[in-house]
Point group: C2
Chain length 185, copies 2
DNA sequence: CAATCGATGACATTTCGTGTCATCCTATAA
DNA sequence: TTATAGGATGACACGAAATGTCATCGATTG
């Protein structure tokens, strides 16, 4: 069966299955690769470690940075945030609420995955910060704006994922931004 | 040399020495325990894993939650945040800028430690969120306020740690809060 | 059909982290 | 002073994570 297509995708699929069947920590890499018809060594060629298999790639930080750079120059930072988050939500998440909720549940149930998830958030902050600096913001201001933007994204994502009424993610984003504006003064 | 005092402290000291001498990932647990005069097994009795040795304990989330609960009832959420952060800064950090900067540098230089550091931040958010819910805030509002508070703390901590002019951490906190108020509308 | 090159397998190894039981130290009381 | 209970440490084994190295397979190209 060598050379069957999409090794990476098969590994991700097998891993998600096993994680929801047995839990994350009870699942070993050899189990994953056995189900995918590959070897342990091959797993670590596609993913730096066992945690990475549950997170996508680095598309989101790249996409976010690109969208920040492309946003209209005259827009205020928080306007940029709103614009970018709406687009990311629409492109990457809207329509995948159930799957997103399932993955979020696996992550929240395991400390090791919470570690990694939290760093992914920080990676996103860094990418956004760099993009805002290139828009001419001062470093500290860029840090704050980037942190605020990813705060909105993260809170809205988890809120939307567990929401039974199926609000759109964009409306949840707006709700969170309104809340921030209300408490910040 | 069995029963020499402060095994935990000796392990932390030996670990920090070795991390700054050789880097974090090049340092093995047996090396740490050899320098501390203990065994590998004992290391893992004090610390859940190799990363934990560089982070304190859980005092800060507990202290923060306690301070939030004790804050005057009539205070607005962001007023509570300011009050609590000023006290934590004064009690736990002021006067230890160099040591803090050294530890932050080790953390920022290693992905595995960045993972853990990011989750520690999330633990702090959760503790603060619970405390705000007990003050009567709605869950979503509590989430946003807690996230904002820890955002201020984290940004101010890293900014203060690398600041050569030795501003007080409380003044950095105020500066960050002012910045947020300025961009959020 | 042969040569080439990337992807995978096979194997060995190091380190992390945990379970288990024996052994040592300290404290408390007789 | 001695006995003993209980917590802390050592000793040992082991599974799983992660990585290095080299062989081997298969598709592509000419």
């Amino acid at each position: 069966m060598r050379w069957a297509p999409d090794a990476r995708g098969r590994l991700q699929g097998a891993a998600l299955e096993l994680f929801s069947e047995q839990g994350y920590s009870a699942t070993t890499v050899p189990q994953i690769t056995a189900r995918a018809g590959l070897t342990t060594r091959t797993f670590f060629r596609y993913f730096a470690d066992k945690r990475e298999v549950i997170f996508g790639g680095d598309e989101i930080p790249e996409r976010a940075a690109h969208l920040i750079a492309e946003a209209p120059e005259e827009l205020e930072p928080m306007g940029v945030i709103r614009l970018v988050l709406h687009r990311v939500a629409t492109e990457q998440f809207e329509g995948y609420r159930k799957q997103t909720a399932a993955v979020r549940a696996i992550i929240h149930a395991n400390d090791s995955l919470r570690d990694r998830d939290a760093r992914k958030r920080d990676d996103l902050v860094r990418a956004a910060r760099t993009a805002f600096i290139e828009r001419g913001e001062s470093p500290l201001r860029a840090t704050v704006v980037a942190e605020l933007g990813i705060l909105v994204f993260q809170v809205a994502l988890d809120e939307w994922a567990i929401d039974e009424e199926s609000r759109s993610m964009t409306s949840v984003i707006d709700a969170v931004m309104t809340l921030i504006a209300g408490v910040s003064p």
